[in-house]
């Protein structure tokens, strides 16, 4: 039965129970949930999970969240951004308590994932909460793989994982779109910034772009205009405002 062995059949995707072990407030609007998940088998950097909440009357809501923890981390971490008039994020960020449970399924996604064996250099371009899957990638990255994260946030207060990213020094280029701060770049991620901060096409970087849909589309087309082959630019859109 050689045929069946050659193709990478996926394990059936089942809903598992996740319980909140602890949480970390990254910013006033974003909280990282540290979860214990029954039967969790690990993930590749860049993948996501689906989360399902069930109310007493049986009403269910589902959302997807990128995995923030690295593949070698011992717990599963999701970073949830609070959406003001959202349905699920106010619960996860405001109400969910230690020991509470909800359902997750995953890991999901083969396209927007990176294995260290694929090598680099790695160019990661994030808009807002699009930085979440990139924390997983940066945690997975061996020291000998060059990587650059270009991260666009509204204000300094909105920057997620600030300490962890500061420790990466020049590998992280931060730009603020709604604030001017001494010592920090301002402005949108445009062709000039990508040319200056990113790897040149000749270095053949593997490129990942993640964030709100309009951000991803603008950045992806700028990267292609800079000469990066479209097939080396992988995108993940979070929708108009982000997950």
């Amino acid at each position: 039965m050689a045929g069946a062995a050659v193709l990478g059949r996926l394990a059936p995707l089942t809903w598992r129970v996740a319980s909140l072990a602890e949480f970390v407030d990254e910013t006033p609007h974003a909280r990282t949930l540290v979860l214990d998940v029954d039967g969790w088998e690990g993930h590749r950097a860049g993948q996501h999970v689906d989360v399902r909440l069930t109310a007493e009357d049986g009403y269910q809501a589902e959302r997807s969240y990128s995995i923030a923890s690295g593949p070698d981390d011992r717990t599963l971490e999701l970073t949830v951004e609070l959406i003001e008039d959202g349905e699920v994020s106010p619960y996860l960020v405001g109400e969910l308590q230690h020991g509470d449970t909800f359902e997750v399924r995953g890991p999901i996604g083969g396209w927007f994932a990176w294995d260290p064996a694929e090598g680099g250099p790695l160019l990661l371009v994030a808009g807002g909460s699009g930085v979440v899957p990139f924390r997983s990638m940066l945690r997975a990255r061996p020291a000998d793989v060059p990587a650059r994260l270009v991260y666009s946030a509204r204000t300094l207060e909105d920057v997620i994982y600030r300490d962890e990213l500061e420790a990466l020094g020049d590998d992280v280029v931060l730009t603020l779109t709604r604030e001017q701060r001494h010592g920090t770049r301002s402005g949108r991620v445009d062709a000039d910034l990508l040319r200056e901060a990113g790897f040149a096409p000749a270095q053949e970087p593997r490129i990942f772009v993640c964030g709100p849909t309009p951000f991803v589309e603008a950045v992806a087309s700028e990267l292609v205009e800079l000469g990066h082959p479209p097939e080396r630019v992988k995108t993940e859109r979070f929708g108009p405002t982000g997950r």
């Binding site: 193709l7 990478g8 996926l10 995707l13 396209w111 927007f112 849909t213 995108t235 979070f238 108009p240």
Partner: protein, 83 residues
């Protein structure tokens, strides 16, 4: 209304496919463009999942989940290569 890409559809597609669809390449029947489904335009907030060609917008694939069965429409793709 949320327009996402193939990554957003990955979980739902895994309910019916045993192989990863986001890395699968397909050819659009309408315009001939070939691309990974991970980059396709996906409309999730609908009575079903609708995957559209990024180049020409025509429908590649539709997946409806009923109570006890699914409907899959894939006539928008001439071929699909899965691995």
């Amino acid at each position: 209304m949320e327009e996402l890409d193939g990554n957003g559809a990955a979980g739902r597609l895994r309910e019916v496919f045993a192989l990863e669809l986001t890395t699968a390449r397909g050819q659009c029947t309408h315009c001939g463009n070939v691309g990974a489904l991970g980059e396709a335009r996906v409309f999730m907030d609908a009575p079903g999942l609708v995957v559209r060609c990024r180049t020409c917008e025509s429908v590649l694939l539709v997946l409806v989940r009923g109570d006890d069965r699914y409907w899959l429409g894939a006539q928008g793709m001439t071929w699909l290569e899965l691995h």
